[in-house]
């Protein structure tokens, strides 16, 4: 009658009634192999969390008083998990607690305030809050505006989406010159 270890049930022969043979070694090795593979998977989840950095380096004309999606091209990414394919929307395939940071740089003649938003959609996020969003803004002046924002998102279901939006309020012809959105998973859920 073989015995089994406490946590993973690794099999071993009874020390009085069984003689060790090749099958005993094979069974133990295979059982250890399975658990080592599982633990390697966990280690890779720790080492390689879902992460993306989307940076826009080319200009984008903004319409005053209108939220504008920041779009990207395939040459402007750190996108190891393929969470972006086109346009402005990033799709995160795994539930978890994520940290978002973004920035936008805008040139304009005169503005009264500016704003950047993280807009998210997904199952569970509706009960968490509105499109989770943050902003900074400033008083009236012309020039080169650099705005940044951060946010924490608890996504209880996979395949949620996020995008960065920019709003300029005032007069003139604002032009987005640089922008970026970074997302990293801090925790599974």
């Amino acid at each position: 009658m073989p015995g089994f270890t406490t946590h993973y049930g690794f099999p071993f022969p009874h020390m009085l009634t069984e003689v060790v043979d090749a099958t005993n070694w094979k069974n133990l090795s295979e059982a250890i192999d399975v658990q080592m593979t599982n633990i390697n998977t966990l280690a890779n989840q720790v080492k390689f969390p879902n992460v993306i950095t989307a940076v826009r380096a080319s200009s984008l004309a903004l319409t005053l008083n209108t939220l504008t999606d920041v779009t990207y091209t395939s040459t402007e990414f750190q996108n190891p998990a393929g969470m972006w394919t086109s346009g402005a929307t990033i799709t995160i395939p795994e539930a978890g607690i994520y940290y978002l940071s973004g920035f936008a740089r805008v040139t304009s003649t005169t503005v009264t305030f500016n704003k950047i938003l993280f807009t998210t959609t997904g199952t569970g996020l509706g009960t968490f809050g509105p499109p989770a969003a943050v902003n900074h803004s400033s008083s009236s002046s012309a020039g080169d505006w650099l705005t940044n924002a951060t946010c924490l998102i608890p996504a209880t279901s996979p395949n949620w989406t996020a995008k960065l939006q920019v709003l300029m309020n005032g007069t003139g012809s604002p032009n987005l010159t640089q922008a970026g959105l970074s997302i990293v998973r801090l925790s599974l859920i």
Partner: protein
């Protein structure tokens, strides 16, 4: 019985009385224990303590003063006491932040300041009896109009657990200088606290 130098896995020595089954059992149990410890450590990183509380919603906050915002709705709670208690139970490095969505009540004059502050009292280590320091993060904006106001701020701190000593309750204050209008903090606002690493070894 001898042990491997790094992981301490057992194997029979030349002098051991031969019992292959017992040797295999020792090896199986040791590997089992070692792997379980590794899995536990990895899971503690993948599933760190986290607490997210939603605001109850606070209507008609006055202008020109710091308005205390309270959070009573539990959105996430792992590795903390039940309820709204945000006492840290593990040492480590934590990140904490607050998101405030507020709504104007009435017409607002242009260029109105709105701000949020987040602070927490951290005991002085290693002598928490002597007092605490208050860490604070703030963010403010200038925005006109009657739409919703969205603000975040955050801070990161180290906390070394000391038995019976709590870092205190986070405090969130909201401030605005509207003329002719009050502000309401909506229940979509939230505060969050998450462990992001162990303390350095």
């Amino acid at each position: 019985m001898e042990l491997t130098p790094s992981q301490g896995l057992p194997f029979p020595s030349d002098e051991d009385f031969g019992n292959g089954a017992l040797d295999l059992q020792f090896l199986a149990q040791t590997v089992d224990t070692k792997l379980f410890a590794k899995e536990t450590a990895l899971r503690s990183i993948l599933y760190p303590p986290v607490k997210i509380l939603g605001a109850a919603g606070t209507p008609n906050l006055s202008n020109g003063v710091q308005n205390l915002v309270t959070f009573s709705r539990i959105i996430q709670n792992r590795g903390f006491n039940p309820g709204t208690d945000m006492t840290l139970l593990q040492s480590g490095t934590y990140m904490m932040g607050v998101f405030i969505e507020a709504q104007c009540v009435g017409t607002v004059s242009a260029n109105t300041v709105r701000g949020v502050s987040l602070s927490i009292n951290l005991p002085i280590i290693p002598d928490p009896i002597s007092g605490f320091v208050t860490q604070t993060a703030t963010n403010s904006i200038v925005e006109p109009g009657t739409g919703n106001s969205l603000l975040t701020t955050q801070l990161i701190f180290d906390y070394q657990a000391v038995a019976g000593i709590s870092p205190g309750t986070p405090v969130v204050n909201y401030f605005h200088t509207n003329t002719g209008s009050l502000m309401s903090v909506l229940n979509t606002s939230y505060i969050w606290l998450i462990k992001i690493s162990e303390l350095g070894s």
